[in-house]
Symmetry: C2
Subunit: 350 residues, 2 copies
C-alpha cells in the first residue's frame, strides 16, 4: 500500500535501500509557506485546530524535500488543554496555562479527559492520511507524562523547573498522581491517533533530561514504559512502531531500550556507534544531527552527514533525524542539502 | 598549616573523616549579606574588582555554614574582558561584550593578554588567603576555553550558540585559533592564581555539553587537556589539584579522566556509583546534588544527601557539591540543612 515504507522498515530493523530521514519540527517557521498558512489561521492554536490548515502545513515540507515520513502538525500541549488547564500563547512568550496545577485540590481533581475534546487532532490525522495518499507514513505523537507535567505545574516554560522539583521532592505522591493521569491520557490519545491513521508514534520527553539520575527513572521513564505497554502495536496487520525520545537522555539508553519500544530518539551528544553497541538488537536508533549545524554551509553539512552515517555503520535500524527540532532561523536550502546527503551517502551502508 | 584540609585530601583520594562539601556559587544572591555588599560595590564588576569586597563576599558563606572550601569570588568573563572585548552587564540581561569576535581580522588579532590586566584577581586571591587564615583551602577558577569562546563569539549568553556553531562547522580554523589563545591565557591566569595562593583550581566548562559527540572532544576537551598539562601542579610541596567540570558531560567522563586532572565535577544526571566504576582510580569525583532540589524541605534534602552518599559508597575521593551553581531563590536554611546532612551522614562511609 505505502509507496515508500523505508521509515517503517528501518524502525523495525528490516533491510532498506538507504537511510530514511525526517526532521523534528519539519513543518515550521523556517518555511515561508508555513508562515503564510499560519497567518491565514490567525494563531498557532487555530492552525492546530483546523484540519484543513494542519493538513496543509504537514505536507509543505514534503513538497520541498524528499522526506521519508510526515509528522502530524499539532502541539504536545493539546493534552493538558483538553484537561481544562486553558492553553494560550502570549505573543513572544511561548505557551502558558490559565489554570496551572498549583494546589492539592486541583491536582486531585485532574482526570483523563474525554477524547472527544481532542477530536480535532484525530480529524487532522485522518485528513493528513487522505492527503498523503500513501506517499510516506504518518507519525503521530504526544509529550511524555513528565514533560506535560512540567508545563502543567509551572504554567509555561521554565529554566529551573522550580515548582515541579519542589513537588517532586516534597510531595512525590502529588506528582505521581499527575503523571499517572497523564500516562493514562496519553495511552488513549495515541491509540486514538493510531485508530485515525497514525502509522508510527513518537513520545517527546523534552524535559526528562533535566532530572537527576534515579528521579528520571521514577518520574519520567516509568510512565513512558507504562504507555508503551498500553499502546496498540499492530493495526491491519502492520506493526505500529513506538519511538521514545528523551532529550539529554544519552546516559539512560539501556533503560529506555528496556521499555519495549521500537526505537530511541538520540540528541547530538550521543555517539551513534557507541549507542548501537549499548542497545544491541533491542531497538532502532533515530537521530542525531545537531540542528544548529544546519547553520553551516551545505558542504559542511554534507561532511557531518557522512560522519554520522559512518558512525552508525552498516545495516538497517537507523532513521536519520535531528537531535532536536529545527530552528526557525534555518535556511531551507541547507535542509535540502541535508536530505540529499543522507539519501546519497547512506546507500553504501545498506 | 591548614586547619581543615579535608577537601584537598579528598581530591587526592586520601583518607578523610567525612565527605567535604562546598557549593558552586556559594557566595551569591541567595545570601542577603551578599546582596548588601553588592549594593555597596555598585555593580557586579566593581564587586569583582575590589579585593576588599571580593574578600568579604568570599567569606560570607563560611560564616554561615561549616563549608570545607572557599572559592574565589570572581567571574569567568574577566579573561575576555582583559583581552579587550569590553565586558559589561546590562541590567537584567546577563553579561555582554561591546566588541564580540565577529570577523576574521578581530579573531586573528586576538592575543594572550598581559596578566597585569588581571592583577585585581590575583590581589583578591592574596587578600582572601590572608583573611581565611588557613581555615579552609581556597579554590581558584577559570572558564574553559570553549565556554569563554561561546561568550566571546556570541557577545553574551545564547540559547542555540548559532554563531559559535556556524564558525565551528564552516571555519573550524578560526575557532581553533580562538581556543588556542584562550587555553594559553587560562594557563597563565590559573598559574598566577596559584602563585597568589589558590590551593586548588577548577575549570568551568559550562557549555561543553551543548556540543555534539566528537566536536566536544575536538573543541572543548582538547583545550582543557592542554591546560591541565600546562598548570603548576605543586607549590611549597603541596599538590595543587585540578578539577574539570563539563556540565552535561556525563557521557564523556572517561575522556575527562584521561586528561590527567585530579577530579571531575558531575552534574545531577550522573549516577555516582556508575561514575566511580567508569573512572576507576584515575580521579576523585565532585558533585552531584541537583541545585533545584534545594527548593525542597530540609527533610527531603537530607534524604537526597543520604542517597548520594550511598551511591558513592565507602572510601575517600568524593567531594560533595551541587551539579551546578546555587539558585538565587534558595533558602539559606536549606543550604544549612544540606551541609549538616553531608557532614553527619558521611562519617559512616569513611
Amino acid at each position: 500500500m505505502l509507496k515508500n515504507d523505508t521509515f517503517l522498515r528501518a524502525l523495525q530493523r528490516q533491510p532498506v535501500d538507504y537511510t530514511p530521514v525526517w526532521l523534528m519540527r519539519q513543518a515550521g517557521r523556517y518555511l515561508p509557506e508555513y508562515c503564510a498558512t499560519r497567518k491565514v489561521a490567525g494563531s498557532f492554536l487555530q492552525l492546530c485546530k483546523s484540519k484543513e490548515l494542519a493538513t496543509e502545513v504537514t505536507l509543505q515540507p514534503l513538497e520541498r524535500f524528499p522526506l521519508d515520513a510526515a509528522i502530524l502538525f499539532s502541539d504536545i500541549l493539546t493534552v493538558p488543554d483538553a484537561m481544562g488547564l486553558g492553553l494560550y500563547f502570549a505573543e513572544g512568550e511561548g505557551p502558558k496555562f490559565e489554570r496551572p496545577l498549583r494546589d492539592e485540590a486541583a491536582i486531585k481533581a485532574l482526570a483523563v479527559p474525554d477524547m472527544h475534546e481532542l477530536q480535532y487532532v484525530f480529524d487532522a490525522v485522518s485528513s493528513i492520511r487522505a492527503a498523503l495518499d500513501n506517499r510516506v507514513p504518518l507519525i503521530g505523537f504526544s509529550g511524555s507524562p513528565f514533560t506535560l507535567a512540567c508545563y502543567m505545574i509551572e504554567g509555561g516554560g521554565s529554566d529551573d523547573f522550580r515548582r515541579v522539583k519542589t513537588m517532586m521532592y516534597d510531595r512525590p505522591d502529588l506528582l505521581h498522581h499527575i503523571l499517572e493521569i497523564n500516562a493514562l491520557t496519553v495511552i488513549d490519545y495515541l491509540n486514538a491517533q493510531i485508530d485515525a491513521g497514525a502509522q508510527a508514534v513518537q513520545i517527546f520527553d523534552t524535559w526528562g533530561g533535566a532530572l537527576a539520575y534515579g528521579k528520571y527513572q521514577e518520574f519520567s521513564l516509568a510512565y513512558m514504559s507504562k504507555i508503551v505497554a498500553g499502546l496498540k502495536r499492530e493495526k491491519d496487520g502492520q506493526r505500529i512502531p513506538v519511538i521514545l525520545f528523551t532529550k539529554g537522555g544519552g546516559q539512560w539508553l539501556e533503560d529506555l531500550a528496556a521499555t519495549g519500544c521500537d526505537a530511541l530518539g538520540l540528541d547530538w551528544t550521543v555517539n551513534l556507534a557507541e549507542a548501537r553497541r549499548r542497545v544491541g538488537d533491542k531497538v532502532a536508533l533515530q537521530g542525531n544531527f545537531d540542528p544548529n549545524a544546519l547553520f553551516a554551509k551545505p558542504v559542511a553539512i554534507e561532511q557531518e552527514v557522512k560522519r554520522l552515517l559512518a558512525d552508525y555503520g552498516n545495516g538497517s535500524g537507523h532513521v536519520f533525524n535531528l537531535g532536536h527540532g529545527i530552528s526557525q532561523f534555518t535556511n531551507p536550502e541547507h535542509v535540502a542539502a541535508l536530505v540529499e546527503a543522507v539519501h546519497r551517502h547512506s546507500k553504501a551502508y545498506k
